[in-house]
């Protein structure tokens, strides 16, 4: 009897020893660098909820992606570059298939590490604009549009509103005094030469985010006609309030897509009606994908967010981000035939990503976003974006989808990418083959 028990225990232990790796093989590890605390939590919480809820919905509804369960792990960065890098270092041993830095500062630090660690970086519509050049940055992906695309669409919007001539007009860039905030400067400088407008820069130090009176005094002095706000966190509601306080026409204050939090506009109360922000997806909770999130995540009490925030702009941004992750993994599974893909596989999946209208419809996102196609040399797509406007309670679409000014943006990106490579001695030449059709 004793021998039988021992044998049974041994068999169970052996089974368990083999069963654990088998289970691990059917899962993929997706770390999310998020910030639910600190000065930028006001923006970060909504994004984090959206990212997490979409992946959780896939786990609950479909059992993961292509049969592989998603192991979701958040790491709190507080939007601090040092903490972001620490998070990455602590997570990379767990074989992540992709990393979302959710900070331009952290992205800049991870760019040189990606190829070494074989972990692709998805910096969705943020990070280094020049990393859209897939030839020099095979491990970095920043779809659907770069900051430079965004700034060029803003200028197009100004052109359209001003009747096609903005010569002599003054455009101000109000920006966080950080790598993220400074990103659009090169393209705005190039566009100011092209269209003849005066460009003025108004940097806001992080410690002054809630005390912008100097910047707005300077805006008044310089008689600025339009402001492009490259802000994040507590900087945005303050900018909206200051614009109102200083009598700046609110419909001439246009935020980059990250300056489009519902809370950012709400801070200005009724006077914020008309505030604009760029966007590349729609708002609202009526899309089938949002209904699935409500049913499979919120109704089961699995979300950290509030039900009424589903459909808000930054929440939907997080959903969009995780959709790109899931579609990249799915594409990687299709290419390799494996369930539990690796970082190298997902890099291939990202490079071959082709989100068509039909596919968006399949995943419950018809009318939510536009198709996205990534190519071997173009890791961004420079897709169309539109202007959203605050109607007093929510953001509504206020323009057609607009193409970025690609003839100016793309050459700048290629030049900047070459410059980056030249400055970083020993930057590796691309050895990864291009995917078929990518």
């Amino acid at each position: 009897m004793k021998t039988n028990l021992t044998l049974t225990a041994l068999a169970a232990a052996t089974f368990a020893a083999f069963a654990v790796p088998a289970a691990a093989q059917d899962s993929i590890y997706v770390p999310l660098l998020t910030y639910r605390t600190g000065p930028f939590a006001g923006s970060g919480i909504h994004i984090a909820n959206g990212m997490r809820d979409y992946l959780e919905m896939l786990n609950q509804r479909d059992g993961g992606i292509g049969g592989a369960k998603i192991v979701i792990e958040e790491c709190e960065t507080g939007y601090d570059t040092k903490k972001g890098v620490e998070c990455y270092e602590s997570m990379k041993g767990k074989k992540p298939v992709i990393v979302n830095p959710y900070s331009t500062g952290t992205t800049l630090q991870l760019i040189p590490k990606a190829a070494v660690d074989k972990v692709p970086v998805l910096s969705m519509a943020y990070g280094l604009s020049a990393s859209a050049d897939g030839t020099n940055f095979p491990w970095i992906f920043n779809p659907p549009a770069t900051y430079w695309d965004g700034a060029s669409v803003f200028v197009k919007h100004v052109l359209a509103t001003e009747g096609g001539n903005i010569k002599g007009k003054t455009i101000g860039l109000l920006h966080l005094d950080a790598p993220f905030g400074k990103e659009p400067i090169p393209v705005l400088e190039a566009l100011s030469k092209e269209y003849g407008f005066n460009l003025k820069l108004y940097p806001v130090p992080a410690a002054q985010m809630q005390n912008q009176s100097s910047q707005w005094l300077a805006i008044r002095r310089d008689r600025v006609d339009w402001i492009y706000n490259q802000g994040w966190g507590a900087m945005n509601p303050t900018a909206v309030k200051e614009a109102i306080k200083n009598g700046f026409p609110i419909d001439r204050l246009v935020g980059v897509w990250w300056a489009g939090g519902d809370d950012d506009a709400r801070a200005g109360e009724a006077a914020a009606k008309g505030y604009k922000t760029l966007n590349f997806h729609n708002t609202g909770a009526n899309f089938p994908v949002m209904q699935d999130i409500l049913k499979h995540v919120h109704d089961k009490g699995l979300s950290q967010g509030k039900r009424e925030q589903v459909g808000e702009n930054l929440y939907n941004r997080g959903v969009y981000n995780s959709m790109l992750i899931a579609e990249a993994v799915r594409t990687a599974q299709k290419i390799t035939g494996k369930k539990a893909v690796t970082g190298e596989d997902v890099r291939r999946g990202l490079e071959a990503l082709n989100l068509t209208e039909a596919r968006l419809k399949e995943i419950g996102m018809e009318g939510f976003a536009n198709p996205v196609k990534i190519a071997c040399n173009d890791h961004n797509g420079h897709n169309r974006v539109f202007v959203s406007q605050w109607d007093g309670t929510k953001y509504v679409k206020a323009s057609d989808w607009m193409e970025p000014i690609k003839n100016i943006v793309r050459p700048l990106i290629e030049a900047e990418a070459k410059d980056y490579v030249a400055k970083n001695t020993g930057w590796p030449q691309r050895t990864e083959p291009c995917e078929k059709g990518a």
Binding site: P39, F40, P203, A207, Q210, S213, R221
Partner: protein
């Protein structure tokens, strides 16, 4: 030659060409200065009583403002929420005295300073646990804080005075005057000054250190609440406000850590200096200088008066 002109001549030509903008800049600097003085006052009160630089003053501002808004969100009327928040700040003062200060009596100042670091992170965690990390709107209307602006024609231009800024300046000034009078003319105030001069001498005449610490931490809590309301009304109530509290550092360097008038005058000099610096000299270096120009001003003053504007000169005989 150009650089000399841009630094030493052009800013003054700009002031002369657009005097309304100069007045507006001075007003903005004055408002910021008064608010910085208010933050600095919280530091000074605690430093005077216990010789501790209270690193937690910034998070106390956030915590007080979040508590106020949090009570109101639960349906508590605004003025009752203010009273309850004051109650919470009083409890916090007692808890700090009992849990943090009392066990560390007679320890070196650096230990007490590090304890306030710990307190900061406890309050951050507690605040995020109770109220979440999302920004909240200050209940300005419910507290009858006026909104809108008054436009005044000045020297051929216009100067806009926001009513909220006027209210902030007035309330902060009243608060500062009230505290100054309280500590100058009341029994507790005299006891506080005795403690500030010498803990041992104060104890020998029967002053309770523990009681004084509670009172002072509570006074700092009241200052934190007023500061939180005013800064929160200008922007929103979020953990980002904590960063603004660090603007009190150059004010303290300038005004001295032990002087209430120093906090006021220091706040005004820093507020005016950084706004004028950013507006007239900032464009020469691409802007964004007000963060560090405040420290340049403070350090320049230190070269002349190392003890700060109103700080006591310490003479140690060997």
């Amino acid at each position: 030659m150009d650089i000399l002109f841009n630094v030493f001549v052009d800013p003054f030509l700009q002031m002369r060409a657009a005097p309304d903008l100069l007045v507006q800049t001075l007003w903005e600097g004055l408002v910021s200065g008064v608010l910085y003085a208010l933050i600095a006052l919280g530091f000074v009160l605690i430093f005077k009583a216990s010789g501790v630089f209270n690193f937690a003053q910034g998070i106390m501002v956030v915590f007080a403002a979040l508590t106020l808004v949090g009570f109101h969100e639960k349906g508590v009327p605004a003025w009752l929420a203010v009273a309850l928040t004051l109650g919470v700040m009083a409890l916090l003062a007692m808890a700090v005295e009992r849990v943090v200060l009392r066990p560390l009596v007679n320890q070196p100042d650096i230990i007490l300073f590090m304890a306030t670091f710990g307190l900061t992170y406890v309050l951050i965690g507690l605040g995020e646990f109770i109220f979440g990390g999302e920004p909240k709107q200050m209940i300005t209307e419910e507290l009858f804080i006026p909104r809108g602006a008054i436009d005044v024609a000045v020297l051929g231009g216009r100067v806009t005075f926001q009513k909220i800024d006027i209210a902030a300046a007035l309330i902060a000034s009243l608060m500062i005057a009230g505290l100054a009078l309280f500590f100058q003319y009341t029994r507790i105030g005299r006891a506080l000054r005795a403690v500030a001069d010498s803990h041992k001498a104060a104890l020998s005449v029967g002053i309770s250190l523990n009681q004084i610490w509670v009172i002072v931490w509570f006074a700092a809590g009241i200052v934190a609440l007023i500061t939180g309301i005013m800064w929160g009304a200008r922007s929103d109530v979020s953990f980002a406000l904590q960063v603004i509290a660090l603007k009190a550092l150059p004010v303290l360097i300038l005004g001295g850590f032990t002087s209430i008038p120093g906090a006021i005058v220091g706040g005004l000099i820093i507020g005016l200096g950084e706004k004028l610096g950013e507006f007239y000299w900032g464009p020469l270096v691409g802007g964004g200088i007000e963060n560090w120009v405040a420290y340049v001003i403070a350090l320049a003053f230190l070269m002349v008066r190392p003890q700060g504007l109103f700080g006591d000169k310490i003479i140690e005989r060997i």
